[in-house]
Amino acid sequence: MATENLVYERPEAFTEMPTHYCPGCTHGVAHRLIAEVLEEMGVIDRTIGVAPVGCAVFAYNYFDTDFVEAPHGRAPAMATGIKRVLPDRVVFTYQGDGDLASIGMGEIVHAAARGENITVVFINNANYGMTGGQMAPTTLPGMKTTSSPNGRDVETQGYPIKVAEMLSTLAGVGYCVRRSLHDPKNIRLAKKAIRTAFETQVRGLGFSMVELLSTCPTNWGITPVASLKFVEEHMIPAYPLGDYKISEAIKQVKI
């Protein structure tokens, strides 16, 4: 009789909600990595997530933790309010690039500057997904979106914002890295970074953020496979992967 080995299952931190994300979108991967990390750290029952406005507006449907839903861009402020009154809980925000790098730029910069002990997972897919693919602060020069139909013209529409590099200049930041979700190796590295970010928080070592280069096949108008290739060939050169700030205390942490 053949024996069956279970090699893959739903993480404990996930609910049974079927996904609403588009086929080929890497939001699901990012969600799963967070869920696995929360489970491995044993903090599911003391975690409070803060959902953004954007495609991940329904993030609270997937995680089996307490969750709140922030106004557009304000997740770091809400997370600050929660963490300051519940300092022993684990508080994270999950934000896209329109949410974090455009309308919420003030909130993210100042949460980082204050060194709030929160963890931010930042999804950079170079467009506003939920509203149908408009230009984001992270849209690449020349990239066509529904609000830059001839391609982003930097002369009139400005240049992309490199969030991880920018936040890494702030003294309140303990851990700030950029990773990508375009292949299994990078997904593993992304998970390790998410784990390190949460470890930064539970040790009280300051603000932590993981920027994740992600796909948006639907709004990019290409297949999921071509989207992964686009990340590798076009996103990574514009947004280099790397460790932008790891404080000395976190370097000592062994995971």
């Binding site: 599911i44 029952d45 003391r46 975690t47 409070i48 803060v50 959902a51 507006v57 609270y60 089996d64 933790t65 307490d66 969750f67 709140v68 839903e69 922030a70 106004p71 304000r74 402020a77 809400m78 997370a79 600050t80 309010g81 929660i82 963490k83 300051r84 009154v85 519940l86 809980r89 003030g106 909130e107 910069v109 100042h110 204050r114």
Partner: protein, 368 residues
Amino acid sequence: MPKELWKGNEAIAEAAVRAGLGAYFGYPITPQTEILEYLSRRMPELGRAFVQAESELGAINMVYGAACAGVRVMSTSSSPGVSLMMEGLSYIAGTEIPAVLVNVMRGGPGLGNIAPSQGDYYQAVRGGGHGDYPRIVLAPASVQEAIDLMGLSFDLAEKYRMITLVILDGSVGQMMEPAEMPPMQEAKRKGFDWATDGAMNRERRVLSSIYLNPHDEEQTNFRLLKRWKDAQASEVRYKEYFLDDAKYIVVGFGTAGRVALSAVREARAQGIKVGLLRPITVSPFPYEALDQLTGQAEAFLVTEMNMGQMLDDVQLAVRGRVPVEFYGRPGGVVPFHDEILDEIHRIASGPLAVQSNPRESWLARMTA
């Protein structure tokens, strides 16, 4: 507690602390900055949360987060800053969680000035943020009343899971008066069965203001309205002065009501049968009290430090049965009591016609 000399803004801060304030988030703006400054010292010494936010947007969303966690939380600001907080207020209302916001009003619109005003009555009472939502609005007229209303503001916010606004003008915030503080309450989380404080030994909770199905949102609107009906039935508060035999009734809130009281006293000394109704809750508004007074009144005079905003509510209560006249000083000007006394004389010397828009004749008199 013995009486002490308290500045309005600092009194509000200390009264909130004594009401069990667990967290404060604010941003500097005149004429309320002393609240922020006072709490920047007071909250940390009690081990409670204090953050000077990067903006009023940041402050109100920190309030939103802490309110979700189930603590007594407050922000304070002044008119332009409160406009920035309207986004957060609407979300807090839609999430059905308690929070307190104090608006020490100043002259507007726009940057306006830093003088005392009541120009934000509509914004406070009618909404300001998007969507349908009721809110409780308290309007103190003295430092002592501001102290007394701080504790009530948290109690009402929690009882009705609703925003409570405390609106006062810059003069109450800045003046010093003898006042008595209530005893200290600890800042303990009360174990609300809706708070998102970590799903330990219970099912997880989600707090949001999103109802993608319009029928669910409609039911939420109905739920808010039903809760509001309860507040309307139980929470109307106002002060009556010389109303028993009054033929002329002045209506004013906050400082305008307080100045009117001096005028009413003087008119009484001159033998004019005039009284004053000063709403303390401007939302829920004392419609019923005014409706009943319409039976005895020959005319009403509404006094405000704006262009006639509460005037609408008085007219709704009086429903055209007797004349309603208006006297206001907008833009940051505080009326002197003799201005209101002149108005009382004008009204008592009648006869007056019922006007659909008393602002027009008021404006004509003011700009003649």
